[in-house]
Symmetry: C2
Subunit: 585 residues, 2 copies
């Protein structure tokens, strides 16, 4: 294997082009095997192998700096920068994260996982270099899909005026996660078709030096191109055309499916699985039905339709009642606010981690205008995810903005009632946190009016009250059962409302309860429980908040996190008993 000789980028410098081509194939094989085994980003990494070899061949890393956008395409980079064992040895597959991570290697500058940040980061590195009168290349590698994000444009606009070395490699594979959408993509297409020589050129219009490389999976052509721009003294774009999924036919032909796959994604491709009833299907069914009945009903996503199961078949059914705006969450929020004000009925589906990209739009464009939109937040909750993709912040972010009614259902019937309320009756913005646990049915239609905060008191007891929000209502039930077994008659509450307090119920609680516990699947700071504590502590009621600590955890197993946060029934019961005893003393 050529790879046997390669431990660090310097080892590349002695290879011939032919050897580099063999190396590329070896790396591809490792990536395919690893990703198919543990899951991960397949297409982006297969497409960028040659670029990565060429970058490390031409530039002198780590003195020269390479900044990866999203960094979901950094696997080849990891193989070449001292971490190949994480790809060669299946026992070490989990040793390295799927994103750049400075704690792993000096070749990784930033911990990155959200899109559209690389250009701004590169400008900062370049600016620091200039202030310190140092001399090295600063390279940002960004995919075409990431370019639609506002932060990327702010970065581009500023980078163009930097006046010194900054090289932005635009990896254009004509794909975001799903298809691209927007004027920029028409221009990229035109540039690809004219091999960079189009009359209209977005990058030149911004003032960049512009180079085009048509053979973005040809290591020789790439090296030639990169040599041209190395040590250049002005802001420069190198626009390269690559093949997403390169070298794996199935991935080349099914680019959306193979963007990110689960373990055994290759084997499972094309198979349909019969799943138990679930929120994904329930949502799709609800949407199709509503869309059929009302032409002004519309579904919006921002580049991740797959997360919600919105596959091509589903999207095609909706036709013009579906829009993927690309990576442009800010735009999505403002747009749906205006749609709702103009009499349409928009739903925006978004992954918890990415709603973070829109605080000001949620506040100003949406909440201040009180537009009756529906936002469905998926995957919200404590998880074993990478630090870059945690989904535990959404409630803290959204529930402290005025006018936004955040709801957290615990079962099918509640979810449907909330959907119905949000899309048909509400006159204000509604966020529904789609449950992140297996679907539970009650069989009884939920007729709640979700405009007014009203908790569901499942059992009206005394001394101890358990308030279990959304995903954690189930945990609340378990704590309830344990306490019952101990001879107590606790109150059990399903609050359903995240951002509004039900003062009437809380006022009753405070009369004959000594300890109130809150359970929420998210960080405690700024979250649900602290609002309860803020209210009840006025009256001297003991409140114990359970949820996640405000921290970035990184691929910590869920069970370990639950233990750490004491989110287990036996630990909670222990705390309650201790707390009660203290009172009795």
């Amino acid at each position: 294997m050529i790879l046997d000789k390669i431990n660090f980028p310097k080892d590349l410098k002695s290879l011939s082009f032919d050897e580099m081509k063999i190396l590329a194939n070896e790396m591809r094989e490792l990536i395919i095997k690893k990703v198919d085994t543990i899951g991960g980003h397949m297409g982006p990494n297969l497409g960028i192998v040659e670029t990565t070899i060429a970058m490390h061949y031409v530039f002198n890393t780590p003195a020269d700096k390479i900044i990866f956008d999203v960094s979901h395409q950094s696997y080849p980079h990891k193989i070449l920068t001292g971490r190949k064992e994480g790809f060669l040895n299946p026992d070490l597959y989990l040793k390295y994260t799927g994103y750049t991570a400075p704690e792993e290697s000096e070749y990784d500058l930033f911990k990155v996982g959200h899109t559209s940040t690389s250009i701004s980061l590169a400008v900062g590195v370049a600016k620091a270099r200039d202030l310190k009168c140092e001399n090295y290349n600063v390279v940002a590698l960004i995919g075409d899909g990431s370019l639609s994000g506002g932060e990327a444009f702010e970065g581009l606009d500023n980078a163009a005026a930097l006046g010194s070395n900054i090289i932005i490699i635009v990896n254009d594979n004509d794909m975001s996660i799903a298809e691209n959408y927007g004027g920029l993509y028409s221009n990229l297409k035109e540039l690809r078709e004219n091999k960079g020589k189009s009359e209209n050129n977005f990058f030149k219009a911004l003032g960049f030096e512009y180079f085009y490389i048509d053979e973005g999976n040809d290591v020789e052509k790439l090296i030639e191109g990169f040599k041209q721009v190395k040590d250049i003294n002005k802001p420069t774009i190198v626009h390269i055309k690559t093949q997403k999924g390169k070298g794996l036919k199935l991935a080349e032909e099914n680019r959306e499916y193979f963007h990110w796959i689960m373990p055994k994604g290759l084997e499972d491709f094309g198979k349909t699985f019969s799943l138990p009833e679930n929120y994904t299907d329930l949502t799709k069914e609800y949407i199709l039905n509503e869309a059929k009945n009302d032409p002004s009903f519309m579904v919006v996503t921002a580049a991740t339709p797959g997360v919600f199961g919105f596959d091509k078949e589903f999207r095609d059914k909706l036709q013009k009642q579906y829009m993927d705006v690309g990576i442009a969450e800010e735009h999505a929020i403002a747009m749906i606010s205006a749609m709702a004000k103009s009499g349409a009925r928009p739903i925006f589906a978004v992954m918890s981690s990415f709603i973070q990209r829109t605080y000001d739009q949620l506040s100003q464009d949406l909440a201040l205008n009180n537009s009756p939109v529906t936002i469905l937040v998926y995957w919200g909750g404590i998880s074993d995810a990478d630090a870059t993709h945690l989904c535990s912040f959404d409630m803290s972010l959204m529930s402290n903005i005025p006018n936004i009614n955040c709801l957290s259902p615990t079962n099918k019937e509640e979810y449907l009632a909330m959907l119905d309320y949000a899309t048909k009756k509400s006159t204000t913005p509604t966020v529904i946190r789609v449950p992140n646990i297996p679907l539970i049915k009650t069989g009884v239609e939920d007729k709640t009016d979700y405009s007014k905060a009203k908790y569901d008191v499942t059992n009206n007891g005394k001394d101890v009250a358990i308030i279990g929000l959304g995903n954690f209502y189930k945990l609340g039930e378990m704590v309830y059962d344990e306490l019952k077994n101990k001879g107590l008659n606790p109150t059990l509450i399903n609050p359903k409302f995240v951002s509004k307090l039900d003062f009437e119920t809380l006022d009753k609680i405070k009369e004959n309860h000594k300890v109130v516990i809150t359970l929420e699947d998210g960080i405690l700071d700024g979250g649900f429980g602290q609002k309860i504590a803020g209210y009840l502590s006025k009256f001297g009621v003991k409140v114990l908040n359970y949820g996640a600590t405000k921290e970035f955890t990184d691929r910590i197993p869920l069970d370990e996190l639950y233990t750490k946060y004491r989110l287990k029934k036996e630990l909670i019961v222990e705390d309650i008993i201790n707390s009660m005893n203290l009172i009795n003393v």
Copy 2:
């Protein structure tokens, strides 16, 4: 007066061009007089008078929709849409807000005050129109300065692909609030110089139809141009060159000063006032000193240097150690994070309301990478501002993100010590909320280590503890004095740390205190006090949180808000006594 005949846009249609020119002058006079009397946006409104007349002449509002970006340039629009009394009659000067407000008029579509939102909002209106098979023009009016904001680009990219009527008027006066910076502005300049016929065209590259009007303060030319695009069936840009401050020589020549002025801004122009010692001057002095000693020390702003007193003289002194990135807060945060990681020492100064534009960048680009930057937040606190510019959300937004150390000083010495810590010693991100109250001196150097949360216990008493944060420590002192007078010996605490709790001090407090009150100059939800309540309520300590309700207030006098929120010493003391009595019973 021609204006006598004009109450609504339809009244314009019978005017001759000459009459419209006279009307423009009449409107200008009213604007100058009003703005100089009560303060407000001078330059933007003087520049847009003819455009506004022409828009309302050509388009059939309110059937056709005009969406104003920021809407700080909507005064002429208000004069022409039923609200001229608010400009003619000084007694009614405060009747209408300085921004578009749907509650005032059907001609105003959205409540807007932050920049870069109009294109996304317009896309939403247009999309709703198309879904409902309706037929009207959708016009967004956006200034060149607002175009650098990421949300505007996301909107542009999507608008270009809309495939139906959307008209974006780019009001190019070659100015943001201060000078523009970025590649886009080189292209706008090139387009102005070539009267729209430049080879490189940012808008055409995105796929827009493009029209240029050089005489953007000539109502006849504007009408001619707008008639060309009315009812057009594709995404269209009308790029118009206007003169900011048009018609007021001083404002034409001093565009930054006259962007937004205080009452008597005309009279006061050029005067220097000798002010008592203040945080603005203190900060500037600190910065100049540090910058001189360390070439890697750098100051960054995002379009509002005037808010921090960073005038031209100050900026010129810093030379390349100062950068205004334009309206691009997201970029600013990512950039300073990278600068700090690369060994530079950046300070970012920002107005509280605009830090909202950066949640995800604060979380991902900055906090996750734990970069030692300094962010100075100005104007944070409850205010009588417009609903669009409230500064009461910053602590709730920032203090729930891991790794960010938010500090809130109460006096000069603390502020200097925090600045010193943040810029020289800290290894993590620090936010300092610059006090929004007159400067107080202790005369004693503050030697606190701000890496570890340690509250300052000013008086160690019992029964009642008063925790007064930042701007409200003073109020805490007043409550303390009142309680002393009533024979109590309360504990008084200056917590200084917003985002971290001092558990050691809180654990002592819980031993011999029955009531703890927290005072914070911001919203309660997700804020400082709820964190305290979340901790102390575990032990059954009564905690009363004082701060603002989670709501959008709109130009409510401060005293009224303080009364409503019970932020007055006598009301707080009353609450404490009631709370104590309840305990004694």
